[in-house]
């Protein structure tokens, strides 16, 4: 059939894209992970990864990503919940999204000023007699700024899940005498778990690979897997080791995807402009 062959002609660029920019990069990263800095074939990189340096790095990376995800969830869930209860909820949601349209670097840069020694937070602390504190370049500032950056991505899928929730379930639960807390834990939360999972995916994986916030806000004190990859690729020029870390990051990513399960089709990205 003529239709069929023309149809597949339209698909050529798309398939070329999959081959070149999806499959080839993963293959190349895996391939490079077996070479040392001088271009010799080796599995040294993998042995290296399991040394204390990289293991500590991985564990701390996971710990920070966990904290960032946890705080994002704690802040985002009530926000999303109450947003669905407002009048003009779509408009309010849009207002939540707008800050995420502002360049990431600009927002991060603003925090350098806000948390700075002469910034408003320290001025505020001074007024209350607590005195100036070094806020920038601490774990606190790192986690705060990361949560700030990721929070819209956590709010959106949860908002969408809550928005789809049939209100008669809640009424039914109330009618059957459940307290608000029981309604929340037994009805609302389980029914919106897919939104939560999508949110966790959207936050946890990028948190593992943050590198510009660690440099600008955490002053190189926090090192994540992302920082390590950037370091190996662009500073040390040791692409082999960088690739090895990337391979592990990909493996972790796959594991997280499996744990958080099949997500609502594209819930994360759909949310962004709804």
């Amino acid at each position: 059939m003529q239709t069929k062959s023309t149809k597949s002609l339209y698909l050529v660029p798309y398939y070329a894209w999959i081959a070149l920019f999806v499959i080839a990069p993963i293959a190349l990263v895996t391939y490079y992970s077996f070479f040392d800095i001088n271009g010799h074939f080796t599995i040294e990189n993998y042995k290296n990864f399991f040394t204390s340096v990289y293991l500590t790095l991985t564990i701390s990376s996971f710990w920070y990503a966990f904290l960032i995800t946890l705080f994002s969830l704690i802040i985002a869930y009530p926000t999303a919940y109450w947003l669905t209860k407002t009048k003009h909820k779509q408009l309010w949601l849009l207002l939540i999204i707008i800050p995420s349209w502002i360049n990431l670097l600009l927002k991060t840069y603003a925090f350098i000023g806000i948390f700075g020694l002469y910034g408003p937070i320290n001025a505020f602390l001074n007024v209350f007699g607590i005195g100036g504190k070094q806020i920038l370049f601490t774990d606190f500032s790192f986690i705060f700024v990361s949560v700030y950056i990721f929070i819209p991505f956590m709010i959106l899928p949860i908002f969408n899940a809550l928005d789809k929730l049939n209100p008669s379930f809640i009424d039914a639960s109330r009618d059957l005498g459940a307290s608000s807390w029981a309604t929340f834990t037994k009805v609302i939360f389980p029914l919106t778990i897919n939104g939560v999972k999508a949110g966790i995916q959207a936050v946890f994986i990028p948190s593992l690979s943050l590198f510009m916030i660690t440099r600008l806000i955490a002053g190189n004190k926090v090192i994540t897997l992302g920082t390590a990859i950037e370091q190996q690729f662009l500073v040390t020029q040791n692409w082999g080791m960088g690739s090895t870390i990337a391979v592990f990051l990909i493996i972790f990513m796959v594991i997280i995807m499996i744990i958080t399960g099949q997500r609502d089709k594209g819930a994360t990205s759909h949310g962004k402009n709804k």
């Binding site: 894209w17 800050p99 402009n273």
Partner: protein
Amino acid sequence: MEKISKSAKLYLALVFIVLYAPILYLIFYSFNSGDAMNNFESFTWEHYADVFSDTRLIMILINTVIVALLSALLATIIGVFGSIGIVYMRNKSIRNSILSLNNVLIVSPDVVIGASFLILFTMVGVKLGFASVLMSHIAFSIPIVVLMVLPKLQEMNSSLIDAAADLGATRRDIFTRVIIPFIKPGIFAGFFMALTYSLDDFAVTFFVTGNGFSTLSVEIYSMARTGVTLTINALSGIIFFVTLILVVGYYFISQRGKNPAGMGGRK
């Protein structure tokens, strides 16, 4: 539906304040005649004038916008054809594997995408600069476009196409007069998402940018490490308002986009 309580309102207000605080903070100090982000001295437009007289910065800004528009456009075209292909795919398991491959770049960490593209471009011999940045942006935008267009295509009733064919429409007519108008909201959404991703991207660009070429994110990153002037604040003020206009524009387009689609269904 229950009314939301005072404390809930307060909580939401607090979230909004925190979300907007850094942006307003930047804009506030863009009017400072002093030279740092503390001690507001007096009001001035000076930094805004600086933005427009800084040709290097303007060039970077233009680069950023060109890359964003071009990559979003090309990604949209490839993505739309891709999703049409996926929808009409008969074999379910092939379709599912294509879909999973489609999502790889969405869930991959930026750093991994950047590093693997750097290897790819170096291997193939693409010079790092405009071309490599543009290609990367197209590459990571395509799956987003597909994800936005696909649901629209799945919503579409195939009898629409049969009807058009029965009435003597050519394949070209079916494509331009039936399919495209129906999935238009999805195409717009995909285009705008791609635009956002491109404008906002830092990590991938940082890896594949080379020496001569720079986008705004990369430039701010290098400036923020060495010390920045309030020109950047003025620039963020401008960007904020342009973004606001874009968002409002997008909001109205998507609102308007809803009606024709609904009408198309009824016709």
